[in-house]
Amino acid sequence: MNQLMIKFMADLQAGLVVTLGASIITLIFSLLFGTLLAIGQLSKYSWLRKLATIYVEFFKNIPLLVVAMFFFIVVPLYFIPINGFTAGVLGLILYTTAFIAETIRTGLLSIPKGQKEAGQSTGLRESEIMREIILPQAFRVVLPALGNQFVDLIKNSSILAVVAAGDLMYHGDLIASNTFQTLDTYLLIGLMYLSLTLPLSYLMRYLEMRLAWGYQPKRFSLKLSQLEWRKKSSRKELINNETVRSLHLD
């Protein structure tokens, strides 16, 4: 496996860059559009609800390969030329948007109605309520699921191999069929994907610990936040406080 890596280092690096690039572009756009769609699915206008729901249901339920192939083969045939990378990324964006919309919708639905009513009674506009009150809370709730979607996104970017976009999996296929060392090659490719997804997973867990609403597993030990340090020290002061001791509150 080491020789493979050394011999094909240039190809693998190029593939890694393409995979990373495609994933980041898709992440940005699908997060943006997914949020808009999620809000749309819960809007008070029924036409917007219907439109958003149709989009989400459609792209959630067809295979990613079909979408990617559509942009790679059908669109250049009848409309405008699209190269492999663009076709793959477009497919990824459309597909991932649907899933992220569903995820964020879950978060939006979990916010108690009281928050929205409070916003309305304070005189905020609908868009402000969504932007300042509901969305920030929704994101914190849904962070674990969103992290899941991001890791899925990196794995799904392997679809670029089928539309010849020069990503990691594409180069892996070529190396495997040229050297006939199928096990070693795909093991190496798997490890390289892991090197992308594992750090992302850890990052998401860290964010969860800092931001997530609800249960946080204490055993995932990173540097304690400032707040928790202050809490710890203030508890010691409390215990030393005579009033607390006399009331047996410690």
Partner: protein
């Protein structure tokens, strides 16, 4: 009652597994004569799945049947397994198939991994372009012209040896490469001349082969390392089918 039920299910399951193992063992021992050939199913003229009669048909398939007839006395002992350019060598090494006969070119690289029989067909690599294309040979390909090839074949490497600056993208199989050509994802598709002729035969028109063959691709039957007797038998069978005219018949039937 629940416990008895789950125990019963467990017992039946293990019985089922045991029976299937016993039966499959029996099958393996009874069918020593059967030869599993890895053939393509998407390459017109060599190995193509005919939906109408549910059979794989083509030059490679018929040669395999003829060799099986020479080796075991009965064509029906040839069993065909679908392979593609990516999966054929792994399947051979795993033992899923006994031999590969799938438009596989003999190269030094591949000889390190499998053993090849004598050459059973000579092809050459060439280019397929749309009818209105101005490309007439390799020299007309500019640095921005994308050439379509197929993963797992020697096509891309051969082309790069002759034209190192060629811009090649590789698709999953010949059909997809041709579809990509139709969508103008590339200006030309490269493949062996006979395979391209097979693709052309299925099209109403609009495409043409251009230029001379720029490589020679000798096809061979691939067999795993350690099967020297089998390989020798295949070579002998090849000689016999050349001698008794079977090869001529099959060639005339399939090669335009």
């Amino acid at each position: 009652m629940k416990k008895v039920f789950s125990l019963a299910v467990l017992f039946l399951l293990s019985l089922l597994i045991a029976v299937s193992i016993i039966f499959s063992r029996a099958n393996i021992e009874a069918e020593e004569q059967i030869i599993f050939w890895g053939v393509p199913i998407d390459t017109n003229l060599f190995g193509y799945y005919n939906i109408a009669n549910g059979e794989i048909e083509g030059f490679d398939v018929d040669i395999a049947k003829a060799i099986t007839h020479e080796l075991t006395g009965d064509e029906a002992n040839a069993k065909f397994v679908e392979v593609n350019s990516k999966s054929r060598v792994p399947m051979l090494k795993n033992g899923n198939i006994d031999a590969i006969i799938a438009t596989m070119s003999i190269t030094e690289e591949r000889k390190k991994v499998v053993h090849f029989s004598d050459v059973y067909f000579n092809a050459g690599q060439t280019l397929l372009v749309p009818e209105d294309s101005t490309i007439t040979s390799l020299d007309d390909l500019g640095p921005n012209d994308v050439v379509l090839a197929v993963k797992g074949t020697i096509l891309a490497d051969s082309l790069r040896k002759i034209k190192p600056d060629a811009n090649i993208i590789e698709l999953e199989n010949y059909a997809e490469a041709f579809t990509a050509l139709e969508s103008n994802q590339g200006v030309a598709m490269t493949a062996e001349d006979v395979i391209l002729m097979g693709i052309l035969a299925q099209q109403p028109g609009g495409y043409k082969l251009v230029g001379e063959n720029f490589t020679e691709e000798p096809y061979g039957i691939a067999v795993n390392h350690g099967q020297e007797e089998f390989l020798e038998a295949i070579n002998q069978a090849l000689i016999r089918i050349h001698e008794n005219g079977t090869y001529e018949q099959i060639y005339a039937k399939w090669i335009p």
